[in-house]
Symmetry: C2
Subunit: 344 residues, 2 copies
DNA sequence: CTGAAAGCGCTTACAG
DNA sequence: CTGAAAGCGCTTACAG
């Protein structure tokens, strides 16, 4: 391996001189000629500074750990794109981890908790992640930011306007004449779920309607869980005409369950999914969704992290703009004759 | 930050002694009592060795860079699970990168190419990744392994039995009476695509049939690309009765295009997708797929990497077992009357 | 304008 | 059985 020392020898100068040219250090001065000579030798030898040595010197690793509930869930694509963009901007490389891997004794946790391995951690909170782990992280020397609204006072966070998001979904259903609207999806323990339910409840309240407990169906996020939950809902025999599903990933399973029951969307049931991703437009029926600025969430989380890291004081906050946007596709329609007949 | 020196002082011993107990070094001996005392102090002080310092000393980082064409594509879920499992086994943490980020000048490339930043790189080859980048990587000091069959002699690889995989798909269609079978998906420049086409072609050949060039439709992998390509196929007015789609992700878009054209799957067109993921069972119609051992591919790639890293000689190879497995769901059926009528 | 030295936190032969 | 010293590759005040 070629080192600074090698370059210095080949150039006939001292190592500090070489280090100086690499870092454009104001402390070390040199003639333009020697600088160029050193640069040429670096170029031809393919020298790259040893990163571990710099890490040790500066106690910074330039790696940012990013934990999300489920790596391969396409719902996180936008979020990750934002995180990667922010990371690139500030010179970080991201170490992506699955929350399910973040358990006691795992290498991942060890690394994140250890010293000198990562400069900080961004976490998309989820029910998968125990409060114990969160608590441990909060005690770390390096910043941890939650990419999610949170009830924790210990950790800084940036979140989406969840209430407004599901309220937007409910409003759409209401405008289509739906009077009985249910909520399906989300884990009960997850703080975001409560806010999403409140969003629907609040909107129904304005219309003089109610979201009753029996119309709330908690569910894990995977399509298979959505399928199973929707099946139970259907078997209960007491089905709302409109459904706010949290979230698109879950919705694909929900749609399959409806189809298997011989019901049609949107003729027999209208459905709007909270959160959007491109594939929602490419299933049939295409899913009506509420789009939220997930890219911004990722990007701004890195920004917040960076400020924290520089010792600036930062408050947690909710991204209010752009506001949640309804994307009308094909899973919602006016409460119509088919439905009425069926329910009669 | 608490260091080795701090621990040594608190325990009243030398730093080498402390280092010795941490690493169970055979060079440094101590009484059971002092060992326990040191261990207690480490415990109570929450000391964790500085990773950068160890990296510098051992010139190893314990991080493995893993590059895939598209981070959020669920098709890679199994592959990643295998990689993560292997990484955990050998004590690596993974730095996941998107091939689309791996461009000249990016932090990601810089890190992967640099020294002392990663111990090696696993790459899922793709058309996205230029040969130039691959070439640069091949020159690196640290091992690079391709998680894919490849034509490169420069880089070690482990791959799937692509030919046999698509042959299995074609065989299924043939057994259902399909006589004209097309291939849709994959990028022309990607070596795997050629093998997949050969798989279909070979199987048709055995049945005395042909895969003509006009029944081969290249496409990018995203659903939207599958949609656009299928649309063009449909507009050509000359549609096969059976289609092998490469791969499931693309297939979701293909199915939407078929639905939008007012055609039904499998009544008007049978479709089998190459490669499987759980969500394929949770769309309607559920997609008939050919499952391949993607987890094994990821896991074994780490194994190969590890052996390489230890200086052992390793040949590239194709995973033949378990053999590709057909998962019959709802996108294929016998060439039937509907189809005949339509084509008449 | 340039070089020698100390130090980041660790490990490991070596001397006592 | 235990400690002092050198060294991994780098950067940065400091002395010349």
């Amino acid at each position: 391996m070629v080192t600074l020392k090698d370059i210095a020898e080949r150039a006939g100068v001292s190592v500090s001189l070489v280090s100086g040219v690499i870092n454009d250090s104001p402390y070390v001065r040199m003639t333009e000629a020697t600088k160029q000579k050193v640069l040429d030798i670096i170029e031809e030898s393919g020298y790259v500074p040893n990163h571990s040595a710099r890490s040790l010197k500066f106690s910074r690793t330039d790696v940012l750990a990013v934990i999300i509930p489920h790596i391969s869930d396409p719902i996180f694509e936008g979020l990750l794109a934002g995180v990667y963009a922010g990371a690139e901007k500030y010179g970080y490389v991201v170490m992506l981890g699955d929350a399910r891997e973040l358990v006691s004794g795992s290498k991942l946790l060890e690394r994140i908790m250890g010293q000198g391995q990562v400069d900080g951690t961004l976490i998309r909170h989820s029910a998968t992640l125990s409060n114990e782990v969160i608590g441990q992280l909060a005690k770390r020397r390096v910043p941890v930011v939650l990419m999610d609204v949170s009830d924790t006072k210990d950790l800084p966070w940036v979140g989406l306007d969840e209430r407004n998001g599901t309220a937007r979904a409910a409003r759409h259903l209401l405008s289509l004449g739906h009077q009985r609207i249910g909520f399906l999806g989300g884990e009960r323990e997850y703080p975001g779920t409560q806010r999403r339910i409140e969003g629907v409840r609040g909107e129904l309240g304005k219309a003089g309607l109610h979201l009753t407990d029996k119309d709330i169906w908690f569910s894990h996020q995977e399509p298979a869980a959505g399928y199973a939950t929707m099946r139970r809902l259907l078997e209960s025999g007491d089905v709302p005409t409109g459904l706010v599903v949290n979230n698109v990933t879950t919705a694909t399973g929900v749609l399959a369950a409806v189809a298997d029951a011989g019901l049609r969307v949107p003729d027999d049931l209208s459905l709007v999914a909270y959160l959007d991703y491109p594939a929602a437009a490419l299933v049939r029926p295409a899913i009506t969704t509420v789009d939220q600025p997930l890219f911004d969430l990722g990007y701004q989380s890195v920004e917040l992290f960076e400020r924290l890291r520089r010792g600036e004081h930062c408050d947690s906050y909710t991204i209010k703009s752009p506001a949640p946007r309804l994307i009308k596709r094909s899973t919602t329609r006016k409460v119509g004759p088919t439905l009425v007949r069926r329910r009669a």
